[in-house]
Symmetry: D2
């Protein structure tokens, strides 16, 4: 029986608690939140648990094996460190930490303590991303050309982080999960439109050494329309993920480009390029709630002693990309090596 | 009666010839094309004109007032220079020239010769762009936040120019036409995926001095899906232009963001931001063929002696943006001042 | 304080109970359901109420003013009759009753007892239908041409009623609410595809005396795609309601048809007809939950003693249309007078 | 060499002439039209043909093998009869004739004269309809449930026929082509909204003896939006044809319904029905112009002496459906046996 305590019962915490509670072999023990109303809600949902305003109670509690940290980013490091120091496994809301250094420290700490870290990159457990990974791993797309992601909305401004830290952790973690090539540099453009605010629109490019593969991300809180779409193009097939579609989230296009030699015409050397256009395939996706699948998987990892795919290292790599994007923003878009 | 000769009768030339021919007060005199088959086509369409393989015939012909140059980019400058030197007005396919220096020289030459240049930025004459300009000029959008353009397709590779020079002239000319603030710097990311080819995907950001306004352009020949969409967002209203929609190309969203003060909560200073969401308006657009409207307008300019909005200077500014984007590409995305 | 008991705590009952509970001036007293599990759920939600397997307990309880009947259609009449006989107001799930005769009897009974009936035509209280009614009442559409509704899906078969009784109550109640002209006849076509089943696809036409206005309804449990769309066309404007759109449920088209006289050409008398095409307007809709608005309105009616728009008579008229559609189905599509 | 004359050079005639002209083994000989301007156009397009205002010239001309009749419906019979009597093969614009009796007479006449009739049901030669036929013939959809077609628009009123005769010939011919079961009865509802006009909106149901298969057609000139969509549902798979989609005209849904026995619960006998939902497949369609494929096929039939699928009998069956729909309209929607 794995005993779990949840720190933070605001917007996302109740979902985390619910899924730990529902996972076989797990016992929800305690919830902490600064706000008495939120604690009241937790008590109504789970009359058998204890609640507390002080996260330290959970972190040090001898009857807790796993601490789930579902609080604002700037608090993650301290809570995670204390939990690891007290021998807990941790489940941490994304982004993992506020700096890459913090993430590195936590990864080291967990290694020494023999404890597991899972960073809540929930999207990796959606039917859509699982299908994308399956398709890419199968080689169906061929040699990859680019990864283009747009996640825009007339959104809720986060008060403590800019739009990159708010929205891009989703896309960076997905991209890192499905693309094998390691990123080597980041450049970013962005702008602040609300006086006293942080960047509310940004464009981030990620580069991959000498590879011609390129990844690009548009994140935006000021768009009149909501778009959540990703294009992944290869020389054999191409894939579009529209996360807002109810019925057709993933489309795989049997389309490609072929080079058939060179020609010379009126003094210009030209490539003879042809386009192939075939069927479109819309695979059915698994419908299970992603967070449920993620937490069940984490519980399985804890039981078997294996490391989750979205471990501390994965969390660190995403934070490093976020940090590099911020650096590039400050330097007017210069490439920042990773 | 304005007498017109058309150089180049390939893909676009016949449309240019047709619209000059149909314009009241214009007489189509001659067509030149290197390809005898294309000349044959021109003769079938307009049995009364003369055709020639040699553009010099048109450029020097005393019975021609206007030379329309509808040939590959790398030939524009020489043909345009010869035409201006021979006292012709010129209509030049976009992009105006292969370098900004060439464009400057032509602008100077035309000024000295007292001749008019129109660069064929056809999109400025569509119902959609005319409506966008009207809406922005009216102040309905309020203070502008950003201009975001996506023009992607599984496209025809141009053999002599990269994807920026192929597709971005449309978007740069439109942006320059509807946005008052002058651009000051350009940065671009891109990649070449076909061995021996040119950039086939690129992301271009345009900056505007100290302004928080930002413009961004995604041009791409390797996308599985065709997208031609532009978002223009302001603090009062927001506009979406989907050029592939048959019925709803322009949507104006009565949506906005308001800052209502500051707050402080658990140690974080926060802005109190609220979102406003109202009706959507889809204006009916004029249906006239853009090229017809453009050429009739050019003829009107010639008759009245006025300078067209899409004159040589406008063409030069677009070429300067293209050139700067290329420079930035070469320098790994560094900002290039204009 | 209005005291409410809810009979039936299956799929919809919990929503009805929740909204009565949340309505100011209402006290939820009791819930009955045959299934002990469902009663357990009700107790968990509302620890202060009493639950019972026997609806008769609620119907006769002296401390209950309103009985909400949220059970299968075939049980409505008996429960409703008993409730009215015991001096309760009733809120009845749609369709009101299994036959028009039953509905008439209940209407009479309520009139004699001085009690109110509300039939749960929830859709009338959505932002979309309220906007449609407002637009039609304002005369903006002009003279109405037709009402065309499609409600299809790969659906859950109801076991005790056919697709007309399952889906058309929504559309019949909406149509009756927004269209002033009284229907006079019904014709229906349909088919049974599952052995031993009931009609799973049907087309219903409703006629309006000598009027040229016509209404048509396509209801279907066997469609591969989900469609919920209604066209309402008039001679001045036209309206499309797409209930599956998140952002643009209602579109009002400034389009119309005009007759400009007659002509005669090559022996044929022809009307000179012209089409007008203007802007499209997408009004923002109220976002409140429809059921909340409906139940608050019912409570208001009870407090003021006024009759709701969706009273027993409205419920009866919908049942009469359903019954007539069934009759027409049996007679191979013949018109059945109302 | 097959020699062709075309009667009628209005909207569609030029397309017919162009495709006959382009077909190998065909020589375009003559065009007739009452309007001198249209004849002028034909002369410009094909300087080598002869033109005439009198169709009788073509019908009797000894140097013409095939007469294409592209004129208003009410003239078809007389022109076709004359052409067949003079030993010509005929290509006739849809609908074939104004009455089924006329169609029967022409079919008989052609049989006696040993001449071929092709009725211009162009849609049968589109990539979309060819794919639909292929899919249905393969048995992929399983046992068919229904055929549901919507063809609506804010349309051009035809002056001499109602909306059924204008739009439904497309859908009736397609349905007859892809569905094997023979229709046995028709019922129709419709309405006239323009004073002095003909039906501008209609709903037509087609029945198939004892079969549970049903076909339904909505044709409409007064819809604010253009819809051209067809659903064909079977117990194994389901197909949607959206003719307005550029990229995804045909979608095949791996969805179905299964009956897994019966149950009895609280006194109601219920079927245990389950729904299956799998992938969606969007096949690539042939892009050739349908009219080109049709005319090349007709030429092939003439050369080989075989009968086209869209022969006089096919044309007759469509006319019979149209006629029956009109009869049903007049009788208030009563079923009319075929």
């Amino acid at each position: 029986m794995i005993k779990v305590g949840v720190i933070g019962y605001g917007y996302w915490g109740p979902n985390v608690a619910r899924n730990f509670h529902a996972s076989p072999g797990v016992k929800l023990i305690a919830v902490s939140d600064l706000d008495a109303k939120r604690r009241g809600l937790a008590e109504m949902h789970y009359p058998f648990i204890r609640t507390t305003p002080d996260p330290e109670d959970l972190v040090r509690s001898p009857d807790i094996d796993v601490v789930a940290i579902v609080t604002p980013v700037f608090t993650h490091f301290e809570l995670a460190r204390r939990a690891l120091e007290n021998g807990k496994h941790i489940f941490v809301e994304k982004p993992f930490t506020a700096t890459a250094d913090q993430a590195r420290e936590l990864v080291d700490l967990a290694a020494k303590a023999g404890r597991k870290i899972m960073v809540d990159h929930t999207f990796l457990f959606t039917g859509a991303v699982r299908k994308i990974k399956e398709v890419i791993d199968s080689g169906a797309l061929g040699r990859l050309f680019f990864y283009d992601s747009v996640r825009v909305n007339l959104g809720l401004f986060q008060h403590d982080v800019n739009v990159i830290w708010d929205l891009a952790p989703h896309d960076f973690s997905i991209m890192r999960h499905v693309i094998k090539e390691p990123p080597t540099a980041v450049s970013a453009q962005g702008s602040v439109h609300i006086k006293g605010g942080l960047e509310d629109i940004a464009y981030v490019s990620i580069h991959f050494g000498d590879s011609t593969f390129i990844a690009h991300f548009h994140v935006n809180w000021l768009s009149p329309v909501k778009i959540r779409s990703t294009l992944i193009s290869g020389d054999r097939k191409m894939l579009v993920w529209d996360d807002l579609s109810s019925d057709e989230k993933i489309k795989i296009y049997d389309r490609g480009v072929e080079v058939n030699g060179k020609t010379e015409k009126t003094g210009i050397h030209s490539l003879l390029i042809s386009y192939r256009s075939g069927d479109i395939h819309v695979p059915r996706l698994e419908g299970t709630e992603a967070l449920k699948r993620e937490i069940d998987y984490f519980v399985g990892c804890l039981e078997s002693g294996s490391d989750p795919i979205n471990n501390g290292q994965a969390g660190l790599e995403v934070v490093r990309l976020l940090e590099a994007a911020d650096e590039s923003l400050k330097r007017g878009g210069q490439r920042v090596a990773l």
